[in-house]
Subunit: 659 residues, 3 copies
């Protein structure tokens, strides 16, 4: 049974840290939660030092009382294991279990997440506290789900890590010979003649080996997943039916590869904090939600954290616009989230995140933020119950290939241009689709892509042989593949594929790239536009050109008249190649030329629409009233739409479409 | 008896480091000092390795000869203990007594100030050399004052520091429970269950606990003060009547809180190096002097160091304009300094500060710099003797609240905006007053403020309960308080005060702030001007608005028409609130509206006037001739001013006012 | 016998790393080398882990086969000792032999060059592998030369280094007293009373002692030279007649002083990678070649590494323009290189430099890069054999003083301006000469300069007494010396010379500088131009002014009307002083005024001409056809030039001049 059937309705609430407040505040908390429509809170994420104040001595009394109060108030609990932040007593007793930086500086407690995930003492302590919680609360009536740890992400470079890394490398490569070959250790005399010679990436004299760095990122993801699985198995054994999750996230720093985690989690939960304000925040929100849904394989997932009323951008904590918190939350629900959760319930008085937003801000309930929290709770409460069910799937006809391993590989300091960025290229692809009203999934290059009419591969630098074959088969089977610059040039170990780029797709694209021409300034294109970041010397080998380079090239390269964008028929399908970074508009034109039906950008500008089963979500992010095409009934207001629905600035609608 | 009575006349001179020069230069030095009118030099600041070339073996012969020559030449001596720079033999013998960075990197000798102020070996060595100097020189006829150490400021994060920090925390907080509460350790599971778990702030995984960081800054100040007191007591016991000082300084990096040091020092001495050229340098100079006078409680203080002829700005050593050294020096004297001292007498040939300015520059006495040094000496020599006496107090009707603890707290990386800066806000307040001819004191928020007609509280983030009550009482008793944005929002431990900002002053200000709106770009105001850095959603609760927010707000916040600046009657007094960062002109208008009489900026632009007892100092920093209102006689030139005095560009005057 | 007679003809090839490729590729390599005209390859630079896979166990079989194949193919071998990159087994066995950063962070393997050159274990291992190679290959028929190590440049701050540094200091200074005097340790109490107190520069509290830092840079160069000599002596003993080299380089980071190395090397080899594209790359290339020739004392040298078809600029790998690789290579040959070598033969598939250029790029031989490699090989093959002989010397009438010790000294963080940069000032001087068709040598300030009509001293901060006397004698003997700002102000230990700048040259220049005025913005000059970075208060003391400062000075200094550039007759010669940083055009005018005949810039713009014995090289870097004045025959095309030769854009010519 899917987790979403076990947890009824839409979830609404946030992280609740009662240990920061005197007990008299708790009753007010529950009363305010009821007022706001909160029905689920995450408890205990950072409570280890309260739950186990000394090694082996547990203090559950306060948590019993908290859970009791919540249960009385009708608020379910997502109970967390607190292993993301070991107490000072732990780190004092086990200095060798703390994280060590790549320059071998040992970290100390005083923040959060200071531990080495490979340290045996930490593993044991983690299992012990998880077991204690499981034993005490697995039968608690308030328990809705388990939340293991928090935002996995602490890298470590210590000797424990070194041992675990070597064991992982043995499993991955089998023999030292294979590892030496995969890492090209013949370069710079790095040949390893014994496993114990291998270290985590540490401070070294100059450029590191990129294959070493990449495998370390992969190892970190798997090693953290091991830690998750240990706790999951303990919790599952104690409470077989209760869903178990952890809160995923993404970003350049994250060592977690969600594609490898998804299958191990009962439910995909994600945290999302946009990094820009305004339309950018809405676009990032849509992308985060589409990623989460894709990791969940299209099944319901849960937005576990967002910030109420605030966006952290460029080092400032900007207030969200009126209604923006509601609109972002609705974007998540529209794109498959079974609810909207926040960090955190009540803004902390002290500590490192005392200025982080809270559903109950420092100013108290008489505040815009709390009023909007109540509005959102009321709205979610009015949404139809079957919206959260399995029949309300989001359907997408396009997939964007997203692979964190590519992002990691493109963080190497030795690439031909600093402008090469898989995540940025993927974001552009998603943004263009979003602005043109196209809902997209994300996919791993090795996934079954047959249900998509189009697949985009933006700067997919690294690709394994099997994945490359998968994409070629997709095209030959009738699909349309749009490959962007610096894709398919390296194998899974980051070794350059030889003989002309992009070697993995050369044949299906019908081109051969003889030379890369990174750009110090834009290059003009034959349509009067320009390419940035990158250009290539492309030879046609069956493809026909859609766009050409024009003169002058900023480096003096003689590319004028040569193809910049090409299209090729291969088998029953089509493959486009985009050899430079196009602007959003030009990229959209390529997708249209490749046959993708899109809304004209500008007409519905700022209005986001998403189909989820029989429902249409419509969200007006803009400053003007807009018309949305629909035949149906707004399930919140009861208003009928006979062809069009008028949406005020900032307005939202959930329309049950006719038949 | 005040120190200023023990040291006759105005002091003029600088740091004199004869150990850098062959003995034949010393006689020339004394001759040049006489030519320049020098009457006081600081000797021995960095002479430890010369005074004690091996542990316990002292070489005082050279110092005897130096002091003898100076005495013969009529130059008094400010004799320094050399503990700011232990010799290499010390650091080699006691590697554990060296400073350790927050990332646990041990520092080594090779610069200056490399020691851990909490290391017992360093404390003992410091006391030993201080005692040896006291024994030998306490009766020396040249001895005018003692100078302990130099610019206290080396932080350390080692285990000695950890022990001392814990002892300090025990004294401050009493119990671990109190500390846990004050530091909000319930956040992120930082609860301490034993004192030994507490460390100095060291490299950690992510954001540090701001209360931990703040207490560490407080501890450093107190710990260094302990070191000062140990030496002071040794020196005082040996030479009861000789004043004892150390050279204070200020700036973001400084760990010293002068408010806590002032009472322990016989005389307040300060170093001042402006960080910008031109008018900015003059303004900074006035501010530094006003700070020093305020630390000294209005009594005479001493400018111990400034740079002759040079300003270090933006990484460049800019030459001061002709006469600028004299004008800066006169600013200090006008604002209460009993003289003008420099670093250093003779520019060093080698070493890290070989390009630092000297009164005798590398080019020798035949140089602009030395000529100006002589002019200044001559001028100081012509000033009336009673100017240095106790009756020549500077009187100020306005106080600006300045609290280094606020500056430290606002260095936390987790604040809502990087633009929040107590020191910068205080500087603006001082600059505006300075440009409008208003002389201001600085004050601690807990001080007796009753003699001021107006008190300014610029971004006074942190405030204790007693200090908050003090300010409220000041208003109710008839004072005028002008509070700027992000003031009074946190208690002394940096915990946010709840229920609506600025909680400490809400009642007296007659406002309630519901939400902060940090600004990514300026916001327009109702007077056509604009606010920067910060805005707030202000509710009137008795106050009336002076200025309102206009549209559009850069984040889309709906503040248009809401109050930006307010004024409120409370008891017998008045309290203004400024919820955004105003420009200098708009801030001046608020002060005027709150009843402060000010000179119109622009009329006397560039001319600084300061009343000190019966004297009026007038300094023309500008490029135009200006008229100064005065009835009296210039005591240097004998020129009469019958209503106005004409001041040439760069000119100065000291007028004894009639009656 | 000079090395250039032992190695016949022009060398053409690059680093060849067959260990990165399966053996079946090797035959293709040799075939492609023959196609490209390659006749010399550098083998084994990074092959230590392949040659000695375990301590003391050698595997030479593969190298035997490689050398055999090359020999069969007619390709000679520059055989490298692989000591720049010890294998992981070495660093694991000898953790104390790895480099340690100044903050004492130990570096680990995983890059290249991770070793402490002073560690006895590393020295022993280096000698052992050098001896093994010498024994096996000293008689190999393919062996053309030995290549010791690679780009010396790893600094270390460990205790081994400390011991070696102290020994070096003893040799340099003799006594501690002399060292204390030279380092001005009286400043900041740094007096050393025992040798063991002296450490390498490590992390310290604040500004370091600049003399300490400078001597450490000098030590590093000498220490690395010791390592070179150890290997050289082993190789020389085994194969007496085979030339021995290492590849020098230059740049701010380089610890090597080529003036001290040149005499120890059989042949000067250099690596050169320009840091900018376009004309800047051509200028840098000319300068690198002139430096190399000057280090070699005018004898033939060898360009050992350049990048085929690519320039790394501003973090991007820009493709060279069509023909640019050939033109750069010809610049080197024109300026004395006995050939043109590249890094590397075949672009690596993996490793940290997988995106570095290769003669055979990833795209394979069917590529622009390889086609240009073949063209260049063909051209070099057509050049006359005696071009590489001893009679084809480049003659230069001007010398630019270049001293890496000045660059090191100007890296101190305590200078009056961050704009002071010896290398940058030298580059400007060379660029101006290059653009005006003047071929220049570089020289050490202590060299015999009598054959030059003019010597330029750009920002020659540091100068020893003997070197200063040498320059004065050069002028008095009839030479023309042009000294730029901030020259001659410090002695060899970096101690400021007193009494008026620039003390070392005051007399010969006929000026006395009273005060420096670093510039925060440009200062106008009397010719309508402007000076940047720096200005000075110059008194004439015999000299006459060529250019004066105008108003206003950006700091308010009163320099208007005072001399900015002066000229002075001294003895039989002339000495000019340039007290500010002039633009290129103004600097050229000063050189012309000082009597240097120059081509007018603009007429031959973009065409570089160099005389080498009876040959004239002409290279058109520009985009227009240009005429070159010549009577002679192009030895490649056979075309006659009767007065002028027309050179197409990008074209080159090598003209045997008539008689």
């Amino acid at each position: 049974m899917d987790w979403s059937e076990r947890v009824a309705g839409l979830c609404y609430g946030g992280d609740y840290n009662p240990e920061q407040w005197p007990e008299e505040v708790w009753r007010e908390d529950v009363a305010l939660m009821r007022r706001a429509g909160v029905n689920l809170v995450t408890v205990g994420v950072f409570a280890w030092s309260r739950l186990e104040p000394e090694p082996g001595r547990y203090d559950f009394g306060w948590l019993d009382r908290v859970l009791g109060l919540l249960h009385e108030g009708g608020v379910r609990v997502d109970l967390a294991t607190p292993t993301a932040s070991p107490p000072p007593w732990f780190t004092l007793a086990h200095p060798g279990a703390l994280a060590v930086r790549r320059d071998l500086v040992p970290l100390t407690h005083g923040s959060r997440d200071t531990y080495c995930v490979s340290a045996p003492e930490y593993r044991e302590a983690s299992a012990r506290i998880a077991r204690a919680l499981a034993e005490r609360y697995s039968g608690h009536p308030a328990l809705a789900m388990w939340h293991v740890h928090n935002e996995y992400g602490t890298p470590c470079h210590c000797d424990h890590t070194a041992r675990a890394f070597r064991a992982w490398l043995r499993r991955r490569h089998g023999t030292l010979d294979a590892l030496n070959e995969a890492w090209t250790t013949a370069f710079w005399s790095q040949h390893y003649s014994a496993w114990e010679q291998i270290l985590p990436p540490r401070a070294t004299q100059w450029l590191p080996n990129p294959a070493h760095a990449l495998d370390f990122r992969r190892f970190l993801s798997d090693e953290m997943l091991d830690h998750f699985r240990e706790q999951r198995d303990i919790l599952r054994a104690a409470a077989p039916g209760v869903p178990i999750t952890t809160n995923l996230h993404f970003g350049a720093w994250s060592p977690v590869n969600p594609w490898r985690w998804a299958g191990e989690m009962d439910l995909i939960a994600v945290d999302h904090y946009p990094g820009q304000a305004g339309e950018g925040a809405a676009e990032e929100t849509a992308m985060a939600a589409d990623l989460a849904r894709s990791w969940a394989g299209g099944r319901p997932w849960l937005l576990m954290e967002q910030a109420p009323g605030m966006i952290h951008a460029d080092g400032r904590m900007l207030a969200k616009r009126p209604g923006e918190t509601l609109r972002h939350s609705l974007q998540h629900v529209a794109r498959g989230s079974k609810g909207a959760m926040f960090f955190q319930w009540r803004a902390s008085r002290g500590g490192a995140e005392q200025w982080h937003a809270g559903m109950v801000p420092h100013a108290g309930p008489d505040s815009r933020v709390f009023r909007e929290v109540c509005e959102l709770g009321a709205l979610l409460g009015r949404l139809p119950a079957d919206l959260a069910g399995p029949d309300a799937r989001v359907e997408a006809g396009v997939a964007i290939l997203w692979d964190p391993e590519c992002s990691w590989a493109l963080q190497a300091p030795s690439l031909p241009s600093p402008g090469l960025d898989h995540h940025d290229a993927v974001s552009q692809a998603h943004r263009v689709l979003w602005r043109h009203g196209v809902t997209a999934d994300f996919a791993h290059p090795g996934a079954d892509l047959s249900r998509y009419r189009m697949v985009l591969a933006p700067s997919l630098y690294l690709i394994g042989d099997a994945e490359a074959a998968n994409l070629r088969a997709y095209v030959r089977g009738g699909g349309t593949l749009v490959v962007s610059y610096f894709s398919g040039v390296a194998d899974e170990h980051g070794r350059v594929r030889l003989g002309g780029h992009p070697a993995a797709f050369r044949e299906v694209l019908g081109v051969r790239v003889e030379e890369f021409h990174p750009l110090p300034a834009p290059v003009p294109l034959s349509d009067g536009g320009e390419g940035t970041v990158w250009s290539e010397h492309v030879h046609l080998d069956g493809a026909r050109p859609l766009l050409r380079y024009a003169a002058p090239h900023p480096t003096g390269a003689e590319l004028a008249g040569l193809p910049a964008v090409t299209v090729n028929r291969a088998g029953a399908g089509t493959a486009c190649y985009v050899s430079t970074r196009l602007g959003d508009t030009a990229y959209a034109r390529v997708l249209a030329a490749a046959g993708l039906p899109m809304e004209p950008a500008g007409v519905g500008a700022g209005v986001e629409t998403v189909r989820r089963g029989p429902w249409l979500f419509a969200i007006n992010h803009g400053a003007d009233t807009r018309e949305v095409k629909a035949h149906g009934t707004d399930v919140v207001t009861g208003v009928r739409a006979e062809g069009t629905l008028s949406l005020a600035p900032g307005g939202t609608a959930l329309i049950r479409l006719d038949d």
